[in-house]
């Protein structure tokens, strides 16, 4: 099929079907039915068997009319993981609902002892006939209270090194044995949860990938997640860059009467350069990827964002001055300065600390040698624990 033919077909289909007023569920069902939800996937699995390039044509046509629902072969990390690693029965039962956004999901990866060191999970799954019994604790789970399923990594073998005894499950959340407690953040919000698992069960049919081979599954799932995050980060950037100049820090400096303070002005220019620079890095990464070369710039985004967020919170605090001693709705300038200063740690800690990011950049991009890994070959039961 030529790109032009495809473009015509999608565009005609959209012309006939797309109506912004249509209820989302109904619209998604139609997209899935027509094979546009994941056009790169085989027809057997709701797709059209298109090449990656043609998949982009579909996405473009959808974007042109502002219609959602396509590109899930790239974006829906849950469905993509189940498709790649699930058994036929599981796929038949769940991929359709996942593409139609009828099941809600969460990630059960992190644990109190397994933060930066994700392979150190201690939540255990013990086989019991055709199901597994799960005991342990997960943290930093968003949407845990509402999710139907969680992508769970659990230890199934304690006698082999840590990466080789982990199994990956699509875990049913709505059962006794699952207790969800909100995690109170330093911003005084609660976007995440702790999840306590006590003799909870997951059918063996919900296993994704082989027993004890879950680390590889997790790597694939994390790669999907990173690519989704990358897309989002890029989507957030203007193309001229200059749009972001009319920036809230400048507005705040005017509002607080500090706009003529030379010290403040130096800070404003520095923050603008960080902000624009990050945008240009992202644009360049995108261009390099589109031109088929690998891009080292892409991997810098999270570290760069962390730096920008902490630095702009610092400048915002100095602009707010004494007002940053206060919080709450009566003092929005101070409140925002404090919120942003604390929330910046979400980026510098969450999803891999800045320190872990630097290790990844140093090793994967610059090719610097790894540190000695003391727990690499030890059976997990002998690995030192904090």
């Amino acid at each position: 099929m030529s790109a032009t033919d495809l473009r015509n077909e999608v565009s005609a289909w959209l012309a006939a079907e797309w109506d912004p007023a249509r209820p989302t569920k109904e619209w998604l069902a139609a997209v899935v039915e027509a094979g546009w939800a994941a056009p790169r996937w085989p027809r057997e699995w709701f797709g059209r068997g298109l090449s990656d390039e043609l998949g982009h044509v579909v996405e473009e046509e959808f974007r042109n009319v502002g219609a959602p629902g396509t590109g899930q072969d790239r974006h829906n990390l849950y469905a993509a993981t189940v498709l790649t690693f699930g058994g036929d029965e599981l796929k038949r039962r769940l991929i359709g609902p996942m593409l139609r956004d009828e099941v809600s999901m969460c990630l059960l990866y992190s644990e109190p002892d397994a933060g930066s060191d994700l392979a150190a999970v201690r939540t255990r799954a013990d086989r019991d006939g055709d199901r597994w019994i799960v005991n342990g604790q997960k943290v930093w789970t968003s949407s845990a209270a509402t999710a139907d399923y969680g992508m769970l990594v659990a230890r199934t073998n304690w006698d082999v090194p840590k990466h080789r005894g982990i199994t990956f499950f699509l875990f049913p959340m709505k059962q006794a044995g699952v207790e969800v407690r909100p995690l109170h953040q330093i911003t005084d919000e609660a976007h995440f949860n702790e999840v306590f698992l006590t003799d909870a069960a997951v059918p063996d049919a919900h296993r994704l990938g082989d027993v004890d081979r879950g680390w590889g599954v997790l790597q694939t799932a994390l790669a999907y997640e990173r690519s989704v995050m990358g897309d989002r980060a890029r989507a957030g950037r203007g193309t001229t860059g200059m749009a972001e100049m009319g920036d809230e820090l400048v507005a705040l400096a005017r509002e607080t009467g500090r706009i003529d303070d030379p010290v403040v002005r130096q800070d404003l220019a520095r923050v603008a350069a960080l902000r624009l620079g990050n945008g240009w890095n992202n644009q360049r990464a995108k261009a390099e990827v589109e031109q088929g070369s690998s891009s080292s710039v892409m991997s810098l985004g999270k570290l760069a964002m962390s730096r920008l967020l902490h630095e702009s919170a610092r400048v915002r605090t100095s602009l707010a001055g004494a007002r940053a001693m206060l919080e709450g709705p009566d003092e929005p300038v101070g409140d925002e300065a404090n919120f942003l200063a604390f929330n910046a740690y979400f980026t510098s800690i969450g999803g891999g600390t800045d320190q872990i990011q630097r290790t990844i950049i140093g090793e994967r991009i610059l090719g610097l040698p790894k540190e000695p890994e003391v727990d690499r070959d030890l059976p997990f039961s002998e690995v030192r624990r904090g």
Partner: protein, 365 residues
Amino acid sequence: MPAFAVTPEQQDLRASVRRFLADRSPEAEVRRLSDTEQGFDPDVWKRMAGQLGLQGLGIPEEFGGAGAGHVELGIVLEEMGRALLCAPFLSTVGLAANLLLTSGDRAAQARYLPGIAEGGTVATVAVSAAGLPGAGVVARRTDDGWRLTGTEPYVLDGHVADLVLVPARTTAGVALFAVEREASGLGRTLLTTADRTRRQARLTFTDTPGAPLDGGLPAVERMLDLAAIALASEQAGGAARALEMSVGYAKTRVQFGRAIGSFQAVKHLCADLLLESESATSAARYAASAADEDAPDLPALASLVRFSCSDSFVKVAADTIQIHGGIGFTWEHPAHLYLRRARTSALLLGDPAFHRERYLRRTGV
């Protein structure tokens, strides 16, 4: 007495204050008081005075105090900063008692200092952040005595103070007035502080009667210098404690089969933070000793320690969250309490940029 020599009495003082605070101001208590309206425990306040004589430490013996110096006060404040003590100590002692002393007004001293020393009086001074003292309030003389009108937006512990000392503008310049708890026309609005361990209030004065004190602007400025040094001591203590938390966590938290403190990223950061924390301690102690010696460069020193100890404490507390990783991002972990204290105390009585500039001016540059 050389700047950094420590007497056995001073060591005892530190040890007994630390013991007292470990007992009376553990983290659970700090959190409990953070959620109360009043923000401190009057019983502990009483014991601080009765058992240890902390409020009266620097107050002359003739007014019921111990007549100790700023070095001793600095020791107490370092310990209070470590413990994040919730109490109106900085306001009562660092601001109000110091102002009574610098005012030279013996009648007022005789009237108010004994109450402070015995833990009966919570006091504060209506000065806000940087800028001219007295900017917010005007005093005029009436047939019925002085009346004050105006607003001070950020008054430390203004919501509970029994005694508010108010620098106010008069036709003859800034003068000082004492306003007591029940004075008419005194409005107190408790503010929502980012650091919930230390309260502030907006005070409004509407034809509020005030008793004039001696002293004027020079007394206020001298008090602000002494308060800056007191605050620096508190910050140095907070920084030292935050770093201890970081180092302790780095020794016990295991990732990749090793304590995270064995990784250079954490180890080297801790080393840099030790330099910050120890420098803050040295600076605060030097300044306290200079205050005791009435050093001529005290105004410059006061500004220098205000900005340098502020910057150090903010850096240590900020990186303490980073070192703790996920757990540091939770409300339940105390790391953020120190960052809240650090960020807020850096802005009290003039922010770091203000004090850098003021430091240069005070050194004639």
